[in-house]
Subunit: 328 residues, 2 copies
Amino acid sequence: MHILIIGAAGMVGRKLAARLIADGGIGEKPIEKLTLVDVVEPEHPEGFGGSVVTRKADLSAPGEAEQLIESRPDMIFHLAAIVSAEAELDFDKGYRVNLDGTRYLFDAVRVAHNQDGYRPRVIFTSSIAVVGAPLPFPIPDDFHLTPLTSYGTQKAISELLLSDYTRRGFFDGIGIRLPTVCIRPGKPNKAASGFFSNILREPLIGQEAILPVSEDVRHWHTSPRSAVGYLIHAAKLDLDEVGPHRNLSMPGVSATVGEQIEALRRAAGERAVRLIRRVPDEMIMKMVAGWAPGFEAKRATALGFTAEKNFDEIIRVHIEDELVSIGG
Amino acid sequence: MHILIIGAAGMVGRKLAARLIADGGIGEKPIEKLTLVDVVEPEHPEGFGGSVVTRKADLSAPGEAEQLIESRPDMIFHLAAIVSAEAELDFDKGYRVNLDGTRYLFDAVRVAHNQDGYRPRVIFTSSIAVVGAPLPFPIPDDFHLTPLTSYGTQKAISELLLSDYTRRGFFDGIGIRLPTVCIRPGKPNKAASGFFSNILREPLIGQEAILPVSEDVRHWHTSPRSAVGYLIHAAKLDLDEVGPHRNLSMPGVSATVGEQIEALRRAAGERAVRLIRRVPDEMIMKMVAGWAPGFEAKRATALGFTAEKNFDEIIRVHIEDELVSIGG
């Protein structure tokens, strides 16, 4: 198989490439070629026997999508996106990258399909930002799309396009609504959701972290390992089983900040917990109030998608994947 | 006020212009100017004291939207669309007119807003085709968007854009999900949904009509008068009351074909009913099976939108508006 990853330099993209290389194939089918694309040139991954192409390309530039599919990859992971905060600050860039870029890709595949019957699998990372307050808890699979950010709007529109292009047979698509990925590895960043990771990741290495909201805030999480797991499962799944509604809310862990902190206490003790400093931030509190507390994810669970059961597991996965195997 | 109607030559557009002229204003505000636009030049309406501009223009041609809003209309009714069957047959045309055309309009208003603070009210006709099977009955207001046609996809995407552009303050938008309009005046047409109107309209004037589905098919209807009524109400409504979710399922009449026929019997007797010929059509039966049986429409009802209560009323409205006042 030839697999194309668009957005391969991001955190999930890098972990996905590593996992594909470790697995060597999708189910029974060996991977012969990997094409890794991003707006910055992705690193050349190690340990892969097949052919690897890394490429710097901007999907939102007209003509790029056609070039990316010229070699007719069998499977396309489309992970590329401007993140929520940037899409909110820069309206034009958000719509250009997150909507137009996605439509260019889908249309390039459609044109190729009409030319020669090309029909790849397309795996798209959507987001829980496609829903917005007021939200029930848990949110059922058939809850309406009411994004309250431009990012969420762009993801919801991309989901609709993916369903329609799939229904018409241009490609075989599946959209994966990622929960907030926690614990994000790396340094603290300025994303409004960053604290969910910071308050665990930093104390685990003896560093202070800031908590800007109250402990009763409930949100919806998954580990980086599970995020990659969804994508791998989506690559293997018999998509006819999924039916016409191709965008799925993934299983995840619904937890309050207080429950996150209790899990940290169990994993690393009271001294770790004492490294969390409460610095209330009105703006972040207001934003977070509209975020998803958790999903039923019945359809995805029935289709075999899995996640951690609780924050103890999420912390253990972080220790295994980031501290022991990388730092340790 | 200056009111722009895009799609003014269609059935709803013509009735809307006539109603606006009869009312003379939106609430307390008199209408000084009407601009009527469509891909065919709209007829010049009678009986209006203010200024009228009729114009042939294709919204999906780049640059047209900018010209349409150059005179900064206070209120824009965007009714223009390729219908469902045509959008399904001609993929490119459907996306060009129903998606790109709408986005060009919204973006032209956005650019004007950024230039000079222009912020019109935008009233958009969406459709019950934004949902698709499997469907509960009645369909709640918070049911997910799962269109199973390209037309429904284009309407759902336009709804999402309307919400986001409204949230960002570029215009003040409201999306009206029209039920199937019944009884459509005029001649029988080839739309798959045409029989819902044909089996009433034709017998009422002594003509035969064909029924291609069984009498237990349930669907969601509104009269042309109520369709225009929704738009007028949307023009008057305090949109702050609507909140961030700007796309509303309208109230309507949920009825089986059998109930439609019973209403015809009450209105026009057994001889009219005998003019309905049963000619089962497998393809139409299959399509109709996925259509919406009816909506709760709680939010729209609470906001004061109204429709007929049953098919007796829908037939009476048709007789009053089409037979007595036009033919009679």
